[in-house]
Assembly symmetry: C2
DNA sequence: TCAAAAGTGTTGGGGGTACACCCATGT
DNA sequence: ACATGGGTGTACCCCCAACACTTTTGA
């Protein structure tokens, strides 16, 4: 019996409003040339979380430490043809610009969750679905969406992020009102490289400290 | 590296409005004579869930299959003095009358969550806290509370259950109104052995079929 | 008739939803 | 001046919270 970890890493492309996950093309059997999640066997002297972080960095070239949360442990008997392998899965959120696999010349690639490859290795399709489900339910009551955005972002980007992940439209004014009332964003004056068409947007930054303070006092984020 | 499963089994005593969990007194080192969760090593040819069920039945004499849900996987390096042991934890809900350890002459015992023994084995205190947290958040948006009650129950019992688990008082009339409006309970005419003081209560039964039908049509249980 | 628990309705306020027009900028 | 996206306010309705008295039974 062996223990491995697998990571479902999410990124959000604000340009085409696309939620993506990172997959790696396998170079060995089993499932050679299929696409798999980053992951691998847990070492004797590392925690599960450290194991995921190590694998992510080794296999994807990631430098930053992503937001990471344990998802579920998959233990079906036949999930891996090599024998009994239990997988502790984690999902992670990063700013998609933190990782550009094509430049790093690794066999990793971002895939839109709406257009995943057919040849997914192992039971990774199931892990991905479970991660998506968790992400969808969690962004409603915890402000983890910001983990997917640049430090500075516009309301439109945030709005698009939520609409994309929840896969439904949200009234722009009410969304803005609700988030504004939470009082966890700071307006920031910056100049941006982005091409602006129309009225220039204001930029905001998530104030984690303030959020935590409010949370201590009984504040609940809830979309 | 070894893999084990641990079960946090909940029961609700409607007579003294007490949420309890089942613990087993250890007969061997390590943590001899300390109280531990039911659990043990996973066999090569059984799923994680089957492993939990087997251990529960072996160690507690439980016959019925409880509501069971994976909780979290604990993998800290030093959590077990015998070496690297990863634990996949599950929490379960049963009707407390389904299991009477004192009669079965096992070393298992129900403990009030408000009065747990000081000498808990391993990191089981943490597992219990995590299970409690999960239970508290889950009964709000899924009708799992019924798993802890007899098939037929009164509104007062249900109300007490929620107040006990959430550890706060809920307006009796509003609670009743809300649950009644969900239309997932059927009123049942039964005679009860319970000692009745005051006006006799009506009894109800959770209609799982109806709940599932409604859920399919977009109904959300939410307390 | 008293004690004990079960059962029931109304009102007010806050928050959510629905909805349309003006603003700032670049071309 | 026009195209493009950004920014804003109001009205209504529903749901939730707060709240107290009546009913049924056994002793």
């Amino acid at each position: 019996m062996k223990l491995c970890v697998d990571a479902i890493l999410f990124g959000f492309d604000k340009n085409d409003n696309d939620l993506k996950i990172l997959l790696i093309e396998r170079k060995y059997e089993p499932y050679i040339y299929c696409w798999a999640l980053a992951g691998g066997f847990v070492k004797e002297d590392e925690t599960l979380e450290n194991s995921v972080l190590r694998e992510l960095k080794e296999e994807t070239g990631l430098v930053e430490t992503p937001y990471l949360e344990q998802l579920y442990t998959f233990g079906d008997i036949d999930r891996d043809p090599r024998g009994r392998i239990i997988s502790v899965s984690y999902y992670g959120l990063i700013k998609i610009t933190d990782l550009n696999p094509s430049t790093d010349a690794l066999d990793a690639k971002w895939f839109s969750v709406k257009n995943l490859p057919k040849n997914l290795a192992f039971d990774h399709k199931i892990l991905i679905e479970k991660a998506l489900e968790r992400l969808r339910s969690k962004i409603i009551y915890q402000p983890i969406g910001f983990e997917l955005l640049d430090e500075y972002f516009t309301f439109t980007t945030l709005h698009n992020l939520y609409e994309t992940i929840l896969d439904k439209s949200l009234d722009r004014r009410n969304f803005r009102k609700k988030i504004t009332n939470f009082n966890i964003l700071d307006e920031i004056d910056i100049i941006t490289d982005d091409v602006i068409i129309g009225r220039p947007p204001k930029f905001f930054k998530f104030n984690i400290m303030r959020y935590q303070e409010k949370t201590k006092k009984g504040f609940y984020f809830e979309l």
